[in-house]
Symmetry: C2
Subunit: 220 residues, 2 copies
């Protein structure tokens, strides 16, 4: 799923490759103004979704042959939230969300996008089905854990941050420079920020709610 | 307090004026690499604080006459967290934090900075003292509310977003395009994103924890 966020020109190769990989694996969804990314890269999504208030009609018309899921402009949720609910309703259990980060000081949208992952977590809790979702850009992967575990693949030197969201969170980390075992940490603490991979695989277990940011090193 | 974040060149006038205003009102603290901002603007903070791993010695030496609060590089908290605790311990009850946002895809640091505000909220809860803190940049003000109220000054057209942090949050808004009365909203919902001021003053009351982003219109 590609949200209407920032796709830095210097990293378009990354996003182009990500679209191709996603095409081979499942459905590729362009949300609202993300259609410009597809247009610029000469790619075609499987679905275009949104209220399309951020897309010129001439661009939208070029994708007339693509399945459209449209919503009224005057609605009570962002296109991102509607897109998440749409794919979960379609039975999607592996979700990658691109374009969730902004480089233009839009912290409300960025925070809301991070917490879209909580919707997936809620659905998993309600249905018992295993669901995986993350936000991805050319440098970072962001996860939301709520009383669950995560195995992350990377390389020694990769950065890993755990940001508590509930008042108190228990953190277990294996394969990092600073390992932790069921360690209590609190909302507002920066103690678990910027740990590092020392192995190819890191294990994270969280009691409570936390956002996990896996940031690759600069040259990958 | 000026953190080691992004200070866009196009908006240096804003930050320069903010330093001058803060100088007239209380203490101005430069945290770690934010000293470059002061250096570039030809300003002098009242305190330089940090582990100074992001400042060249030659620059730091120019501020040898300024009070220094230094921490070891190898520590369990970011400079931002140490700075918050330092000012609260000094009895500060009005805190503005600049440079908390990043434009370079550093979402872990940005999220951690937002939740630094929870430390202030915790202190208020523990001591009963009224404390106000917000993150500020040239376009946005960010607040953390935990079972409390806020009055915001602005202008019709200004944007206001409420981002739930606890599982369920009750939101009351007065003076906005869409007013709400003790409305239940949940973590992950984007329903309360991007409301608008219709008066000069907006009242916000939150039951639970939420981040409030007040974003001024583009031309202010």
């Amino acid at each position: 799923m590609f949200l209407n966020g920032a796709y830095p020109v210097a990293h378009l190769d990354f996003y182009s490759a990500a679209i191709d990989v996603a095409k081979g694996r499942g459905m590729v969804i362009s949300v609202d103004g993300a259609l410009y990314l597809f247009h610029d890269l000469g790619k075609t999504p499987d679905i275009v979704l949104g209220d399309f208030d951020s897309v010129e009609t001439t661009v939208l018309q070029k994708y007339a042959g693509v399945q459209q899921v449209s919503y009224p402009v005057d609605k009570d949720a962002t296109d991102g939230e509607l897109a998440i609910k749409y794919v979960l309703d379609q039975g999607c259990d592996q979700l990658e969300i691109f374009g969730a980060f902004d480089t233009t000081f839009e912290s409300d949208q960025m925070l809301a996008n991070v917490f879209l992952l909580a919707l997936v977590s809620d659905r998993q809790r309600a249905t018992g089905q295993a669901l995986n979702a993350r936000l991805v850009d050319h440098r970072q992967e962001v996860y939301f854990l709520d009383d669950n575990d995560l195995q992350l693949a990377g390389a020694p030197g990769d950065m890993l941050s755990v940001i508590p969201i509930s008042r108190s969170v228990r953190v277990t980390l294996r394969g990092t420079k600073w390992e932790l075992t069921d360690q209590l940490t609190r909302l507002g603490s920066s103690w678990t920020l910027r740990n590092f991979f020392v192995r190819e695989t890191v294990e994270v277990a969280i009691g409570g709610s936390a956002v996990i940011v896996h940031r690759r090193t600069g040259n990958r």
